[in-house]
């Protein structure tokens, strides 16, 4: 019975992970074939780094991820502290609104933002994609900080005021240091999600400004080239590492 259980679990995990492992292995295949192993090589990775399109997208992806994480962390940290101090009713309202971008399917978020840019006649490109990324990042930043705020003894802020600190001083010297682990987790999560996003980027950018995900999609529709394998493999490993770190942090914090 025990064996059957473990075997079953193994099968499910194999189903989830074999495609990824195979893709990563293939990216080191010297030949073009997906089936025949023609020796280990970095050939596709070299080609990858020579491709100006891909390099351009990589820069865009990283720039968006860093900027979006930065802005989202600032906005989200302030917002979390503010929401935490709110009275019950407005707090509920804010948390509900905050949940919208997380619970809405990406396609709807993407489309609604696209309509916003169409409606306001903003040309889609780097800036619109950045705005969209900040929008879907902030809720996760808030979500990472909220538990820290709840854990915090709510009287420490009052104690600081009691000892003569102004609210601003108390915010930076008492609240912020206490929730810092949550802020860092939030920033990392925002960076990862931004790196990871396809759907929302797809609807909020133009074909001229592509991040890696949209580039992969447009290429994959025509069939998968070995360089795409290499690129996907790289992204997998990067995301996997980031996610493991973020997960470890959240697990420790809880």
């Amino acid at each position: 019975m025990k064996f059957i259980k473990r075997f079953y679990l193994g099968l499910v995990l194999a189903f989830l992970y074999i495609p990824i492992v195979v893709l990563i292995v293939q990216s080191f295949n010297a030949g073009k074939s997906r089936a025949k192993w023609e020796g280990f090589s970095f050939r596709w990775y070299e080609e990858l780094f020579k491709d100006p399109n891909i390099m351009n997208s990589l820069v865009i992806t990283l720039a968006i991820a860093v900027l979006a994480a930065l802005f989202a962390t600032i906005i989200g940290t302030l917002a979390a502290i503010g929401i935490h101090a709110m009275k019950r009713r407005p707090q509920q309202l804010m948390l509900t609104l905050n949940n919208i971008p997380m619970t809405m399917p990406d396609i709807v978020t993407g489309i609604s933002l696209m309509l916003l840019f169409i409606f306001t006649q903003v040309e889609r490109g780097f800036v619109t994609m950045l705005l969209a990324h900040i929008t879907f990042d902030v809720p996760y930043v808030i979500l990472s900080i909220m538990p820290k705020l709840k854990q915090m003894n709510k009287n420490t802020y009052e104690a600081a005021l009691d000892l003569g600190a102004t609210p601003m001083y108390a915010l930076f010297h008492v609240i912020l240091p206490q929730v810092m682990p949550g802020v860092i987790t939030g920033a990392m999560l925002a960076f990862t999600l931004s790196l990871d996003d396809f759907t929302i980027s797809y609807f909020t950018t133009s074909p001229l400004v592509q991040n890696l995900s949209t580039l992969i999609y447009s290429q994959a529709r025509k069939g998968i080239k070995p360089t795409m394998n290499a690129l996907s493999a790289l992204m997998f490993v990067a995301l996997l590492l980031l996610l493991l770190v973020v997960n470890k942090r959240t697990a420790e914090e809880e």
Binding site: N153, T156, E158, A159, A160, D162, L163, G164, P177, Q178
Partner: protein
């Protein structure tokens, strides 16, 4: 008297979401006094403290501090400091930086800060703990640091919000004495909030008994214990037997089916009253000589004394006595006149007693 008043609360009213928390409170606190706000949870005692600390604002009424209305002044500009319920120490700072927090904000010189912090660490018996993180300390130690952190700013009033609530019984008793000693040595006004009547009786100069957003009684521990104003106070401060009775005439009261001579007068004739008798004031006598007689229903050993529940026909008596009588035996009960406390009935308790009859 008037010039000694440090804090005066004038007609403070406060409500949350339509529920009245403080119902027109009037109170004054003298300099160097140890005042305790005592009452069950939800009675408004903590809210009163937070209004004085500046963390909440009253809906109406004024807070006068040293002759000035401070109602609109934010907490960081008030000359009071607070010891919070769960200490609220800054977990990211060590012991020394916690205590120095307020002094640094006052832009004091480093040497001055060091001197004051050292003095405080000494005062609370935590010399040598300066570099420790606050999370590594025990509850009692954290408590002392919270007190030191507040006192180092030399406040005119120290507000303490159930500061000993999280400590175990033995530590709590020690800290009660320490706090009282500290207050007398430093000559600072303490405003202390607790729901623990024993704590209030031990430490206070003045006790303010609160219930349902109102002040029921203000007085010294002794006067509140001996002369509770109504059945609620009597019951909250120590254990009591409370019987419905009738004042037959001055110095004679009828309850539990017998007439008792007492020392109270001025209630009028045939006036319904509450009669309060402390369990330790009831004497166990022979069945034939008691003012009432009853059967012992249960006996509990409580350490210093035995607690006996006695069924006297129409009433149940709780008696504390150092001598034990076996369960089921018949005894007589007697109370000397000055141990019988007569008080006006509390209005909300009327219907209940009528139902009993």
């Amino acid at each position: 008297m008037e010039e000694q008043r440090l804090i005066t609360l004038e007609d403070i009213y406060k409500q949350y979401d339509g529920t009245t928390v403080l119902d027109h409170i009037n109170l004054y606190i003298r300099k160097k006094e140890f005042v305790t706000l005592l009452g069950p949870s939800g009675c408004g005692k903590t809210t009163t403290l937070r209004i004085i600390g500046g963390f909440e604002t009253a809906d109406s009424g004024r807070v006068i501090f040293d002759g000035q209305d401070i109602s609109g002044i934010p907490p960081y500009k008030r000359r009071v400091n607070t010891v919070f319920q769960k200490y609220a120490l800054f977990p990211h700072l060590n012991v020394r930086d916690n205590i120095a927090f307020g002094l640094k904000l006052k832009k004091m010189s480093k040497a001055e800060i060091d001197r004051k912090v050292d003095y405080m660490l000494d005062l609370v018996n935590l010399k040598g703990y300066g570099k420790r993180g606050v999370d590594s300390l025990s509850g009692g130690q954290q408590q002392r640091i919270a007190i030191a952190r507040a006192l180092v700013n030399e406040p005119e009033v120290l507000l303490l919000d159930e500061p000993l609530g999280a400590l175990d019984l033995k530590l709590r008793k020690e800290m009660q004495l320490e706090l009282k000693a500290m207050q007398q040595r430093l000559g600072i006004t303490f405003l202390y909030v607790t729901h623990d009547q024993e704590e209030a009786l031990t430490m206070s100069d003045t006790i303010v008994v609160m219930q349902g957003g109102r002040i029921l009684q203000i007085g010294t521990p002794k006067s509140i214990y001996d002369e509770p104003k109504n059945a609620f106070v009597a019951n909250f401060i120590g254990e009591s037997n409370i019987f419905p009775g009738t004042m037959i005439r001055d110095e004679l009261v009828h309850f539990c089916g017998a007439d008792f001579p007492c020392v109270d007068s001025g209630f009028g004739e045939d006036h319904p009253v509450d009669v309060v008798i402390r369990p330790e004031d009831i004497l166990l006598v022979g069945e034939d000589v008691g003012q009432v007689t009853g059967t012992i229903k249960s006996v509990l050993f409580k350490g210093v004394h035995y607690e006996m529940i006695i069924d006297a026909g129409h009433s149940i008596w709780k008696v504390h006595s150092t001598t034990m009588q076996p369960e089921g035996s018949r005894v007589g009960l007697a109370v000397v006149p000055f141990n019988i406390h007569i008080m006006h009935r509390m209005e909300e308790e009327k219907p209940q007693e009528e139902a009993k009859k």
